[in-house]
Symmetry: C2
Subunit: 246 residues, 2 copies
């Protein structure tokens, strides 16, 4: 019987490269629905379906960040992470990212109460985003931090989205793109912190691999949402019972 041996730890550089490779392989900028969205290939109803479903993800983000803080006994980590809740929910006069998202859904002609109720969202959307909240609540803290690292890949997609959507859709104006403009600034700071954190706290190769897997998991959460939209709203006849009908 051979004794189990832990593989050697990756250097910080190789660890980061392994994480970035996940983005290159499976970040949702490679999804066909995304290419259609940015390329102006969708009609207003399809864009509305995307925005309505993506609201569920936006709304879940501060909850998953709170789930992380609820587990962090380090005040330094909590003080850093709480910015993410404030970025999404706002604070006092600052309305926050979810409010900016609702400006987008308003602009697409969706009723705000209907969007917020999530009644019209695809069940697969909600299963995916709630799986993310649960992942952050129960996985080891370092792995939970790692799952945020799709933010490394976000600025590129946000830039493409702003230019692609403004250019291709006459029903999309500058004001409804405010959410993405703000994320261009926020996401890189957050990602830099999280990347540093996991480099410091993943102490074994096994933990490093769990972190890389967490980024894969998170890419799956994003990809599954687009699969569900693609299936329901691109070919006719596939909208599940109870889901939004453009």
């Amino acid at each position: 019987m051979t004794e189990w041996t832990e593989a050697p730890k990756l250097s910080a550089q190789d660890f980061e490269a392994a994480i970035r490779a996940v983005g290159a392989e499976r970040y949702h900028d490679k999804h066909p629905f995304h290419k259609m969205l940015h390329g102006g290939k969708l009609n207003k109803g399809q864009v509305a379906a995307w925005a309505l479903n993506r609201y569920c993800y936006q709304e879940a983000v501060p909850r998953k960040d709170a789930a992380l803080i609820a587990r962090a006994e380090s005040r330094e980590l909590r003080r850093e992470w709480v910015h993410r809740i404030l970025d999404h929910d706002g604070l006092a006069d600052e309305p926050g990212g979810i409010e900016r998202w609702l400006v987008l859904t308003d602009g697409l002609g969706l009723d705000r109460d209907y969007v917020v109720s999530k009644r019209g969202a695809l069940p697969a959307t909600r299963f995916a985003v709630e799986a993310y909240v649960r992942f952050v609540a129960i996985e080891p803290l370092t792995v939970a931090v790692a799952s945020s690292l799709t933010e490394l890949f976000a600025p590129k997609i946000h830039r493409e989205r702003i230019s692609g959507m403004l250019e291709n859709y006459d029903f999309i104006g500058e004001e409804v793109m405010a959410y993405f403009r703000r994320r261009l600034v926020q996401a890189p700071d957050d990602a830099a912190f999280a990347l540093d954190y996991i480099k410091q706290h993943a102490r074994t190769r096994t933990e490093q691999e769990a972190c890389v897997d967490a980024v894969r998991f998170k890419c799956n959460v994003l990809w599954a949402q687009l699969d569900a939209l693609h299936h329901a709203y691109v070919e006719p006849g596939n909208i599940p019972p109870g889901a939004f009908r453009p």
Copy 2:
């Protein structure tokens, strides 16, 4: 077989009175250890034991508040509740309540790393405070909100603590009482919000009673901490293995 019938709902006034009655019966201002603390009957080592153990409670508070936010799908509730995390952990230049607590433990001659490590805290302290975090994470949201309502009773105890401790201990100065002075302002606002919230959201007598029970539970969390301190640090010979020895 008699059919089960729900008892009539309490009026908002009676509901509030039932909650306040819990404080009158069992808030920890009635605990003998508390009377000793405020009355100048403890020595510096005993006050240090209190501050060291109470640190565990302070540190758990933003985690339990994050646990609540992690479950709240209402952005309004999250935006209101996040203040509590910021009050304790601070934000940017504002150091927050836990830092002010550490000024108190510094003033009592305790090593900061030792306090933060919680290694010297009584196991009963940690069991009690983690039971509170867990309660907020798993009980119905309205009941979780209700468990914060010991804040209704806090200003009185904080005022007594400030005057009693400043008067009775030459090792306690104005600067280390900053935590309690700040809470005199914060706690009443928070309690007013939570009381309004449960009046609106507890829709049946059963839910109202669960809220009253939540306040009892929270009083037990506070009382158990003082019982443990009382047992360990008032009579000699009772300090458990591994716990702080003055």
